[in-house]
């Protein structure tokens, strides 16, 4: 329970972390409250699955809060937690095997029966409520264009333009040279420009 008169909502991240280190559960909750939406949004746009995004977001916060003693206050807390979120997302995407489904069946299928079994059957599958929500949230042109980017480009462009982080902070968060971050963002912008060119015509 917070000390009487202590308004965590008005304190800086660093001060809230100090309160959390002193064992105040309310301070932990305040950190979750501040960052749950930005962290979830980043991860959701990276993995494009709500359930997985929730699990990964939880994992991010649990990792960060259980290691709060190792956080160094001279760096921004937001950089630290976004770094964890990005690592968790990229690790998940690497582990996940994405089978390529085409209308004509999987490229790995060898017999006519296997091809038919792996072909995407349009119209014969009902969307769950979750899938409907995902389609609504991530079905827009820009969201689908973002989804076509390589994960490294995607995280950089989201951190730059959705989160509004400067290049130097992104480089620190992702442990990348500044030049690499700029290259990724420039290339991502180029790909998105092409993908959305039809909207401008």
């Amino acid at each position: 329970m917070a000390k009487p008169g202590l308004d965590l909502a008005t304190m800086s991240d660093q001060d809230v972390v100090l309160e959390a280190r002193a064992g105040r559960q309310a301070a932990y909750r305040e950190l979750v409250r501040r960052y749950e939406r930005p962290i979830f949004s980043l991860i959701y746009r990276m993995v494009r699955n709500r359930e997985q995004a929730e699990d990964l977001s939880q994992e991010t916060f649990v990792k960060a809060l259980n290691a709060i003693e190792s956080y160094r206050p001279e760096y921004k807390f937001s950089s630290w937690i976004f770094k964890i979120a990005n690592n968790v997302s990229i690790d998940h995407l690497r582990r996940r095997e994405l089978d390529t489904l085409s209308l004509d069946g999987s490229p790995h299928a060898l017999t006519p029966e296997a091809i038919q079994a792996s072909a995407l059957q349009l119209g014969d599958r009902q969307e769950t409520a979750l899938e409907e929500l995902e389609a609504k949230e991530l079905g827009g042109e820009i969201e689908r264009a973002i989804a076509t980017l390589r994960p490294e480009y995607r995280s950089c462009i989201l951190l730059r333009h959705v989160e509004g982080r400067p290049y130097e902070e992104i480089a620190t968060m992702l442990d990348l040279p500044l030049g690499t971050v700029k290259t990724y963002i420039h290339r991502a912008r180029g790909e998105l420009r092409q993908a959305l060119a039809h909207l401008r015509q």
Binding site: Y28, E54, Q58, V62, Y71, E137, I142, L192, L196, R200
Partner: protein, 186 residues
């Protein structure tokens, strides 16, 4: 000399333009180049589109699910630690003083007995060290040195300089490099 105005904007310059920080001479190129203007406008529209993307919320109760898995550790507060240390030192001291005041005769006997024994031991140690020192082969040389103030000054001066030099060298050898990259760990 390359005509800077004729060179198309680089991606970094497009960034600068988006941030409102493009150099004047490069603004001149932008005004005169339809291709660069098209790119710049497209980038501005894209930046605006990305900047207005909504934030999504996880399902209700997310905070509770996180807290169920977080171990809230209570770190001992510095004041509490200092108070515990102070109590740990002061209480035995107070107990000792209290006992001494309550038992002055016993204390006197103990001190006399212990003091006498300690004094005898100390005297024996000094005599033994003294005789050992006199028997050393280098003792006459040391005695000669002590009896000559000039030589003694030289030895002390040389030792002080050697000590200072050793400290400087050790500090240089042990100095840690300043980290150049911000490193955060999780």
């Amino acid at each position: 000399m390359t005509d800077l105005i004729a060179i198309h904007l680089t991606p970094d310059e497009l960034d600068d333009w988006l941030a409102g920080a493009l150099a004047r001479n490069r603004e001149a190129h932008l005004h005169g180049c339809a291709d660069c203007r098209r790119l710049a406008d497209a980038d501005r529209a894209l930046a605006h589109l990305l900047g207005t993307l909504p934030l999504f919320s996880p399902a209700a109760g997310f905070g509770d699910r996180v807290m169920a898995r977080v171990e809230v550790r209570r770190r001992a507060r510095p004041m509490a630690v200092a108070a515990a240390l102070a109590a740990g030192l002061l209480l035995p001291m107070a107990a000792s003083v209290g006992w001494s005041l309550a038992n002055p005769d016993t204390l006197t006997q103990l001190l006399q007995g212990a003091g006498g024994e300690l004094g005898r031991l100390a005297l024996a140690a000094v005599r033994s060290s003294g005789s050992t020192l006199l028997a050393q082969p280098w003792y006459p040389w040391v005695r000669g040195l002590i009896e000559s103030p000039a030589r003694l000054g030289l030895v002390f001066g040389g030792t002080a300089v050697a000590y200072a030099g050793g400290v400087v060298v050790l500090r240089r050898l042990l100095a840690l490099p300043t980290p150049r990259v911000a490193h955060v760990q999780a």
